[in-house]
Amino acid sequence: MGGVAKGQIVREIDALGGQSGIISDKTMIQFRMLNRSKGPAMWSPRCQSDRVMFAQEWRDTLERTMNVDFWQDTVSEIIVKDDRVRGVKTSLGVTISGKSVVLTNGTFLNGQMFIGEKTFGGGRTGERSATGLTEQLVSLGFETGRMKTGTPPRVDGRSLNFSRMEEQMGDENPGKFSYSDTAALTKQRSCWITYTDESVHNVLKEGFEKSPMFTGRIKGLGPRYCPSIEDKINRFADKDRHQIFVEPEGWNTVEVYVNGFSTSLPEEVQHRALQKIAGFEKAKMFRPGYAVEYDFFPPTQLKPTLETIKVANLFFAGQINGTTGYEEAACQGLIAGINAHQNVHEKEPFTVKRSEGYVGVLIDDLITKGTEEPYRMFTSRAEFRTLLRQDNADLRLTEMGHKLGLASDERWANTKAKQVSIDRLTQLFRETKLRPEEVNDWLVNRESAPLREKSTVYSLLKRPEIETADALTLLEMASTAAENELQSYAKETVEQAVIELKYDDYLSRERQNAEKLSRWESLEIAPIFDFDNVKALSFEGREKLKKLRPRTIGQATRISGVSPSDISILLVYMGR
């Protein structure tokens, strides 16, 4: 779970009161804060989870949740009356009525798996695909498309020679995802890094003529950014090696995930190629990698709540919307679930703005622009990423989660208390002055210019060479420091206060920009608005607007082909 941009999403889910962070914390076998060498906006938590424990912990959590009933079966049909969903029918012939339905079909809708020249129906190893549902939705007027993803082979860790690989250990002081009081890891398992080379590539190339990708049997769109190993070799022929991450699947299993080696070549080719990789000479395979092709529904057919436009109270979340990744799916599940609940209780819809969270960026991108390939989150997709940091997700979102009744009172009280501490610390940093004799030795030692006159801790924090971790040290040097008080601040609180001060000029500019744009987000375009009536619009702008039907002026500004003058014209026409 986690990773760059994805770790921020898990933190956001947690801040809203979702479970992904807590369950990751309870089941992780390794934790790393990625991008530590970069600025705080880029710090991204990532963990390696025990796959079996993860599933078990989820199940336990659900079973402990009040008012949740279970029925395990395959949905074959949704029941729709008067453009409103009424429930589902299952393949066992059971009818379950419900006011809201959330479809989270993953890769199962007409899922088709490929290994070399072999093809079989299924959404995941050993699990059948779901048929009929796509066809029913199409008959209701939904558009559908095909996407493709893949997985690498799993191998027996006992057959690997780790001495030929680089060890990648977890962080010395491991962090965690949840803002609640989950425990941090005390012991961790390592991952390993190795590389492919020409000999590996040559073996793989032997299988190209049997590749379902290159022979055209897979028609779905695969992602450009996590391509299969054969795609990497094919498209980037000049690259003579590719990185392979060797990841244990749990505390007590020998099963290893060969990340970076996703492939749908014949299993015999997979195995031979694997054995050419340094450390894999004697590798035994548990399961081959495969590609899977599945149906998705272009997400432009959704409202910002993830409710479908066509059928009221029907929600889509996850790969059915063309996304890839656990974190992307998890946050959609949360938003769809919240809104399914809100609808049933006739409460206000719940959405997160682009300037408030990656969750907001993700959903807005999906519903505004759709996606041509499996959508994965990147920090570069967020125009205000310096505001959407992993350290402040609670300050951004917990209040909203609490209002929904999702984040507990305790969680909200903690967030409020944290804010009070941050404010107090901020004041201390701004007001505490250090005399040259108090700090100069330390500064010189840190290769930072000594002070000539009294100076605030705040001004020292602005120096690039002074780090977040130095902040309290500096405060303590002041003769006025109240040491007892300083020790009471949590590490996260200090970090948060320092980041906001150290980068305040950048952050205030970013906030100003966000505020400027937020006005457009609140200007709604009526669903019945007739773009054809607006003759002054540019041709391309009108066509795009008609096709994508943005809900707000803000969304319209993000559609390529809609020019600034089109926006001005729309504003004028729309009224308020």
């Binding site: 970069k38 990497k232 003759k535 390529s560």
Partner: protein, 475 residues
């Protein structure tokens, strides 16, 4: 509910030379903003619908107060009782494009943005000032305006600059993509953006856009004529020279004393170049010989001009006076022509002595630059051909004023170029300070967006496209 947005400014009257021009400033803080350049009553405290007379000024230079751009009448409107329903200030100034530009430039320095086509109307509409029928007409105007300005953009950015900017923007996209790659995929086996290369690219772009920014003034020079000022002591013969220049060009000059005060400028065409002789009203006042030219007044005049003609009396001017003036002119950085008048009354030998005196006595303390040659004329006898060819040669040879090179005349382009330059400057400074890539990327993305406004759209999709097409990433 009234929305007060960031202050915007634009000329509200039709462009071109009229008796007066009105510049409108609208938005949050419009009154306080204008107040900073206005010398007269404090505008901030004034009630709505009141008019105030005063001067509109350049920024202060150190302790010296900013020089006067023009005498203006400022009308204050308070929200919601204004055209846009925001706080509005209307500045009435003399109807010269030059003055209008100066005032607008000053307003943008103070934080106003130049209004997009139709933006005042748009705000008025958003604040409920019009009904839909009126709005429809407004929409057509916006469409027409933006189409026109787009055409103008293309034709204005000629001379290879348009293509060059596009190339540089593409290079910047590719580099920003590299920075983004480092941020989003830093854990993987990817190459990092080399800081020295990035820095070089940024300064390269600045090297291209800065002359464009500077050409804004020059561009207007070409379009609107070269603001030229004749300075010199009262007895130097300025009015005689002026008449000699203008009479030959059959310019309409009133004989009636005093009427010239209403005429801000006289025009003169030499070899197809338009010269605007500014501040001529005072020049005609030949009887007022007692008035000494104060340094401050001379400075003001030089500041307003793009080209300075310094006229001195060849008979009576001392070398010290000349040297002082040359130093003053050098400091201004403006191109100038030294003209010795009354050549008919002195010998060639005496002329040479004057030249000698200013060069040998070290007219320039630094001795680096050469003193421009003195041009000897007789204004009285209308012996001014050489002066005229020198004037036109100045325009042809002066890079900033050259008609052939790319010039920026559109104020909105200027704004985007300036914003690009500022963002790049911040990014360069950040690179030098060793700031981490996420913050550098923030300004790089601003630079890209602003450049994109000039050359076409840029979206984050462009960046991802650049990443995915070039790099093998993802597990």
């Amino acid at each position: 509910m009234i929305h007060q947005l960031h202050p915007i400014a634009a000329l509200a009257t039709a462009p071109g030379i009229g008796a007066i021009a009105v510049i409108r400033v609208s938005g949050e803080g419009a009154i306080a903003l204008t107040d900073k350049a206005f010398r007269g009553k404090r505008l901030v405290g004034q009630p709505g619908h009141t008019a105030h007379f005063g001067t509109f000024r350049h920024a202060d230079r150190g302790n010296e107060p900013g020089s006067v751009i023009d005498e203006v009448l400022v009308t204050v409107f308070r929200s919601p009782h204004s055209f846009t329903k925001e706080d509005v200030v209307e500045i009435s100034c003399h109807g010269s494009e030059y003055i209008v530009r100066q005032i607008l430039t000053r307003l943008t320095e103070l934080g106003a943005q130049l209004a997009r086509p139709g933006e005042f109307t748009q705000r008025a509409f958003l604040n409920g000032q019009f009904d839909l029928v009126q709005a429809e007409a407004v929409a057509d105007v916006i469409a027409a305006d933006s189409a026109a300005s787009h055409r103008a953009a293309l034709s204005q950015l000629r001379g290879g600059f348009s293509k060059r900017l596009k190339d540089l923007r593409q290079q910047l996209i590719d580099f920003v993509a590299l920075v983004e790659l480092e941020l989003d995929f830093g854990e993987e086996d990817v190459e990092f953006a080399k800081r020295d290369q990035l820095r070089r690219l940024m300064t390269n772009i600045q090297g291209v856009i800065r002359p464009l920014i500077e050409s804004f003034a020059a561009g207007n020079v070409i379009k609107n004529g070269v603001p030229t000022v004749i300075i010199g002591k009262p007895n130097a013969g300025k009015s005689t020279l002026l008449n000699a220049l203008l009479n030959e060009e059959k310019a309409i000059v009133s004989d009636i004393p005093g009427t010239t005060r209403d005429v801000i400028e006289d025009e003169l065409f030499i070899d197809g170049v338009r010269f605007r002789l500014i501040d001529t009203a005072g020049l005609r006042d030949t009887t007022d010989t007692i008035e000494a030219i104060g340094v401050a007044r001379t400075r003001q005049q030089i500041e307003k001009a793009a080209l300075v003609v310094y006229l001195f009396d060849g008979q009576s001017t001392t070398p010290e006076e000349l040297r002082e003036m040359i130093a003053e002119l050098d400091e201004s950085g403006k191109p100038y022509i030294l003209v010795g008048n009354k050549a008919d009354l002195i010998t060639l030998h005496q002329q040479a002595a004057v030249t000698d005196a200013i060069t040998k006595a070290g007219g320039r303390p630094d001795g680096i630059h050469e003193v421009p040659p003195i041009l000897w004329i007789s204004a009285k006898n209308a012996q001014i051909d050489e002066l005229k060819s020198t004037l036109s040669a100045q325009v042809r040879t002066n890079g900033a004023m050259q008609t052939g090179s790319a010039v920026v005349t559109n104020a909105r382009h200027l704004q985007h170029l300036t914003a690009t330059d500022e963002a790049l400057a911040r990014a360069v400074a950040a690179v030098d300070a060793g700031t981490s890539a996420d913050w550098i990327a923030m300004d790089l993305r601003i630079a890209l967006r602003e450049l994109g406004e000039l050359t076409g759209e840029v979206t984050t999709d462009d960046l991802l496209e650049s990443i995915f097409s070039r790099f093998c990433i993802g597990k």
